[in-house]
């Protein structure tokens, strides 16, 4: 196995453009980090119940629940954070205001508060993740080895994490400011790594490059780029060159097909195979160009295969294994 990419990281934030499979990757990462007796928490904050769908379990409450066993033993827990509940938690911890909080919720006031101040919402959500992370250093019994946060998409990630600047307009001093500072002391530290999930396509790659730049400008620690749904080249380099220059040996292919027992419509099959070979080669070449652009970021780039069968628990194990092999620790 390769060297650990992220030693000392306790909070893994997973972001990515829509449609890149960020929730699936976050789930696989939580599983990889829990392998051989670890204990991880996978958190979601967008009210989408994406984790429940990936693990095929009923919708998650605002409560930590074990959702899977990791390879080699180990526990994957999950939590769907709701901003309202996070605010009530916060009120309880800092003001001992649990009962008033419930009254406020019944009135719709909590929703109102998080609505007029979207920054408040974000600081509550990231605050919950940091609270869980800090359990480990306080050696609390319900601590985790790592927390994986299925975070908002690339376009919003820097703003979501940079709670300091988000609340600066809200509060110069006071408890929320202190809370934000506490959150930043975890998020902007080597204990956190932000990973971006992408596909080897132009648009998601561009968004990833822009996202990395934005995160770096905000001094947020970038962990790595995870390329999802890659399809390995099925042809050799030389064959791809032949495919793109229309010089694949037609005769030879036709004869081989007959040899394989495919005797009807041989010319039609040959033409189809050649066209598909061209299509495949063009796609692979495009992917190689995009991968090169990613490599310029000077970050670990991990690759996950496209799974023809779709995503279920066994494919999560497969993806987790691929992440571990590439050093996701």
């Amino acid at each position: 196995m390769t060297e650990a990419l992220w030693p000392g990281v306790a909070l893994h934030v997973v972001s990515g453009k829509g449609g890149t499979g960020k929730t699936t990757v976050a789930a696989a990462l939580a599983m990889a980090l829990a392998r051989d007796g670890g204990r991880t928490l996978l958190m979601e904050v967008e009210g989408r119940q994406g984790i429940a769908q990936v693990f095929d379990v009923p919708p998650l409450p605002y409560e930590e629940r074990q959702v899977a066993v990791a390879p080699g033993g180990g526990e994957v827990w999950a939590l769907a954070v709701d901003p309202e509940d996070a605010l009530l938690d916060y009120l309880e911890i800092f003001y001992n205001l649990r009962r008033a909080g419930s009254a406020l919720r019944r009135m719709g006031a909590v929703d109102f508060a998080t609505t007029i101040a979207p920054g408040l919402r974000d600081v509550l959500l990231t605050g919950k993740a940091c609270e869980v992370v800090r359990r480990a250093e306080k050696q609390e019994p319900n601590a985790y080895d790592a927390v994986v946060l299925d975070a908002p998409p690339t376009g919003r990630i820097a703003r979501f994490l940079n709670v300091n600047s988000e609340v600066s307009g809200l509060a110069k001093v006071g408890p929320i400011r202190n809370h934000a500072d506490l959150v930043m002391s975890v998020i902007a530290s080597p204990r956190t790594a932000v990973h971006l999930v992408t596909l080897l396509e132009e648009m998601p790659i561009q968004e990833t490059i822009d996202g990395v730049e934005e995160l770096r400008e905000a001094n947020l620690p970038v962990g790595g780029v995870i390329v999802n749904m890659t399809r390995p080249p099925l042809l050799t380099h030389d064959e791809m060159n032949m495919a793109t220059t229309a010089s694949l040996p037609v005769k030879q292919i036709e004869e081989a097909l007959v040899k394989a027992g495919l005797t009807s419509e041989v010319p039609a099959i040959t033409q189809t195979l050649i066209r598909e070979g061209l299509d495949h080669s063009q796609r692979v070449q495009l992917e190689e160009r995009e991968l090169e652009r990613l490599n310029e970021l000077d970050l670990p780039v991990l690759q996950l295969p496209y799974l023809t069968g779709g995503i279920d628990l066994s494919s999560l194990y497969e993806l987790a294994g691929a992440l571990s092999e590439q050093g996701a620790r």
Binding site: T20, F112, A113, A117, P118, E201, A260, E276, T308
Partner: protein, 380 residues
């Protein structure tokens, strides 16, 4: 069951159709689809305006959308008799313009400077959807507009339903109880709410003041007071555009990719359109794996590949090409299942399938090509 085919040309050629809304989950190619349809409609004689929300840089350049002035710009269409205008939504600017159009200059300036307004107009979850609706309403109402068909792309929200829900949410938030109470503290906090609620409200302002700072609440108060007297009812404006979307001359096109998540989203949206009485044109499935012709099964291809790879006289090239073919057949089969389960749940919804393209669209020629594939409606 085979779904009915969606013929987009029938929709864009129908001169009674004046609005087409392209919607769906993020990352399924909504913007490209909207742009390609717009170009095709223009080439087929319609006078079109396409409102895009967040186009990729190169697509924007292809359409000449380099100036961000929040008004439609003409795109030169070389073929056909129609015309094409295109614009990219600037949500803050649209909001500012609404304020400027409805308030006298002093008051407008006061609103635009308000810190809460600035936060609301640039980062409120839902503002983009609200402003997309607002802009659509404006473009539709514009007198002497050089277009008779508006094609709108919806914001890249996490859920396609946000486009329908966010405006009402923002509207009711601004018209809502708390904001009203907040703006009229002199009337006695929460009069008419009942004693218990009034007590709750005291706690509410206390807690909010504590965690947000009293200044934020004051800013919200000034903003709402200023905006309230100048133009009534944010909600009313949102409702009006919402009603526009229920009219007969609107068509929704739900865009998806042949993946379970995107299809589930499409399914929700189709149900929702039905319950809102909004006219659905059909489903467009992008990125479909195309397979030339039905020549053999995936199993046959894989078995033949195996024979050629391992025999005494191996043919590695043909073996690999056959494996590639088997792979594509399997992917298509899986995609077919995903689409089939959609059709099972929504048997009446016509579907167009668009093959996956090797590269992103960079120019009008590329858009034209996508338009042709859309019109064809099945993978080649």
């Amino acid at each position: 069951m085979e779904p009915a085919s969606l013929h987009v040309d029938d929709i864009i050629d129908d001169s009674s159709i004046s609005i087409i809304v392209c919607t769906g989950a993020g990352g399924v190619g909504k913007t490209t689809t909207a742009a390609a349809l717009a170009l095709r409609a223009a080439e087929r004689g319609r006078n079109v305006c396409v409102l895009t929300i967040d186009p990729a840089r190169r697509l924007a350049q292809a359409m000449g959308l380099t100036e961000l002035d929040n008004t439609p710009r003409e795109v030169v269409v070389e073929n056909g008799s129609g015309s094409l205008h295109a614009m990219m939504l600037d949500m803050k600017r649209t909001f500012d313009e609404v304020v400027e159009a409805h308030a006298d200059p002093d008051r407008a300036a006061q609103i635009l400077e308000n810190p809460f307004y600035q936060a609301l107009s640039s980062s409120f979850a839902g503002t983009q959807e609200y402003m997309a609706m607002e802009k659509l309403g404006q473009l539709h109402a514009q007198e002497d507009a050089p277009w008779d068909l508006i094609i709108v792309d919806t914001p890249p929200s996490r859920s396609a339903l946000d486009f329908l829900d966010a405006p009402a949410r923002l509207g009711s938030f601004l018209d809502g109880r708390f904001i009203r109470i907040l703006t009229a503290p002199a009337r006695g906090a929460g009069r008419g709410l009942g004693r218990l609620a009034a007590a709750g409200f005291g706690i509410f302002t206390g807690v909010l003041g504590k965690i947000l700072g009293a200044q934020v609440l004051a800013d919200v108060g000034t903003f709402v007071a200023a905006i309230d007297t100048t133009f009534g009812g944010f909600r009313e404006r949102a409702d009006k555009t919402f009603a526009l979307l229920q009219e007969d001359n609107t068509r929704f096109l739900v865009i998806a990719a042949p993946e379970p998540d995107a299809m589930r989203e499409a399914s929700y949206f189709v149900d929702r359109l039905r319950s809102e009485n909004m006219p659905l044109g059909g489903l467009i499935v992008n990125r479909v794996q195309s397979v030339d012709r039905e020549l053999m099964s995936a199993e046959t291809a894989a078995a033949a590949a195996q024979r050629l790879a391992t025999g005494t006289d191996p043919e590695p090239l043909t073996a690999r090409l056959l494996r590639l073919h088997a792979d594509r057949l399997r992917i298509r089969e899986r995609q077919h299942h995903v689409t089939e389960s959609f059709t099972g749940a929504h048997p009446g919804v016509p579907i167009a399938q668009v093959p996956a393209l090797a590269e992103d669209v960079h120019d009008l020629d590329g858009l034209e090509q996508v338009g042709e594939l859309l019109a064809l409606g099945r993978p080649v």
